[in-house]
């Protein structure tokens, strides 16, 4: 049933062997497309967009020309199809331009109004938030963890908190803790373990730090560099569980 067909009447059509070759080429292109996005750094990166679009356009063209015989068929059929294709492309581009999708910051509205996604526990699906748990005394970036002292909660919790600080919690992006992170958007937290107790009268460092993580809007320290009201919101930490926040607090309390 799948033997080559020498008796094929229409010599303009590819032979069985040529069809197999085309299929292999299509498979290879798809495999390459998949391999392009396997490296962690390339996932979702803008660098891969051009090659991926080019490869899929190539596949598109191969299927249309050979599987759909447009290469061998009457040119009127090709003209009819390409007209619709170009119209669709033009209309789509027009819509994207109209909605500013090519402008530098098309996501501003979403950035300003977003609610952090809390993974639904009942889904029982894949892990969404990966909590980095580095070995005690070792920071994820390979630096020294000597700043970490032994607090009430134990060094395990501190180490876990540090993992959240630099990992899932994304705190390190904006906050500096000397030897651990260099973020410069929010206040320096290098000595927050002691400074935390002085920010609000009658509020312990533990309570102050906890509130500043869960409800940063409630109180914004003054006289501290980078303490700009409104930048940090509860939405940024809403995806952290209570246990994660507790570990984070222990880690920050250890920053004397």
């Amino acid at each position: 049933m799948s033997t080559p067909s020498p008796e094929h009447h229409d010599s303009r059509h590819p032979t069985f062997k040529q069809y197999v070759t085309i299929a292999i080429i299509l498979f290879a292109i798809t495999a390459v497309e998949f391999l392009i996005i396997v490296p962690q750094g390339l996932k979702g990166s803008g660098v891969v967009i051009a090659p991926l679009v080019a490869l899929s356009a190539l596949k598109f063209a191969i299927v249309v020309m050979f599987y759909m015989h447009l290469k061998f068929d009457n040119r009127l059929l090709g003209a009819v199809f390409v007209t619709g294709l170009l119209l669709a492309f033009a209309a789509g581009s027009a819509v994207l331009i109209l909605f500013g999708s090519f402008q530098p910051r098309p996501r501003d509205f979403a950035e300003a109004n977003a609610v952090a996604y809390t993974h639904q526990a009942e889904a029982g699906g894949r892990e969404e938030v990966e909590i980095e748990t580095p070995a005690p005394g070792v920071t994820p970036d390979g630096g020294t963890g000597t700043a970490v002292e032994e607090p009430a909660g134990g060094s395990d919790l501190v180490a876990q908190g540090q993992g959240i600080f630099t990992g899932a919690g994304t705190c390190a992006v904006c906050h500096t803790v000397e030897g651990i992170s260099t973020g410069a958007v929010g206040p320096d937290l290098t000595h927050i373990g002691t400074e935390g107790a002085t920010r609000q009268p009658g509020v312990s460092a533990r309570d102050y730090i906890t509130e500043s993580i869960r409800m940063p809007e409630a109180f914004v320290a003054t006289g501290v560099p980078n303490a700009i009201p409104g930048i940090m919101t509860g939405a940024l930490t809403a995806n952290l569980s209570d246990d994660q926040v507790q570990a984070l607090v222990e880690f920050l309390l250890a920053q004397k």
Partner: protein
């Protein structure tokens, strides 16, 4: 081969199918453009990176590509009047299409379990509308192929009626190329889109500083 005289010199059914596919480009073009406009605009999760499973969908993409190869073989078998081949390849094409739909049903169910429904956010709305309509096209194609298979079993397909198979093939390959585009844009490129909050990880400069 149909020798009926027409003003264009082309068989009208075939020209009609190409015209339909041309218009279907606009149909899917509109849905794809809508997805792209609203890409990254969801303000509640799940976001694509939370639920899109690229490896699984790569497998179903391979299956759909395979089905296009089988479709080509079905037409070749029809042209050389290989009755067994006609039935075998038509059934194989429809079967692989059904596997693809199976993957899609699995995917939709998994997404729903993770909290993404068509009205959850802009991602859900545009994703399900686009891939749903594509799935509907595939389903229609399966029904078409199975009808041809029944015709084939009755011995009604052969060189004289090859156009029946060819036109179904054009439709089937078109559904395949639409998926080539969807797979690239929604999975390989858009599948790793993070929510705006997680966007802080990659670009702190996106933070709007109040003035």
């Amino acid at each position: 081969v149909d020798h009926t005289y027409t003003t264009t010199g082309l068989n009208h059914r075939k020209l009609l199918m190409w015209t339909f596919l041309s218009s279907d480009c606009l149909f899917f073009g509109a849905l794809i453009a809508t997805y792209m406009v609203y890409r990254g605009q969801s303000i509640v999760g799940p976001y694509p990176v939370n639920i899109i499973d690229v490896p699984v969908t790569t497998i179903s993409t391979f299956v759909l590509l395979c089905s296009s190869f089988a479709m080509v073989q079905a037409l070749a078998a029809t042209n050389r009047n290989d009755q067994k081949g006609i039935q075998w390849w038509l059934l194989a094409t429809a079967f692989m299409g059904a596997i693809f739909i199976g993957f899609q049903i699995y995917e939709f169910n998994a997404f729903r379990a993770e909290g993404l429904k068509i009205d959850t956010n802009l991602f859900g709305t545009t994703f399900f509308t686009l891939t749903g309509f594509h799935g509907a096209h595939v389903t229609l194609g399966i029904v078409w192929l199975l009808s041809l298979y029944i015709m084939g079993r009755k011995g009604r397909l052969g060189p004289a009626t090859a156009l029946d198979v060819e036109i179904a093939g054009l439709y089937w390959h078109f559904v395949d190329i639409v998926w080539i585009v969807i797979f690239t844009l929604l999975y390989l490129i858009g599948g790793f889109d993070v929510g705006p909050t997680a966007g802080l990880l990659v670009e702190p400069s996106l933070l709007a500083l109040p003035t």
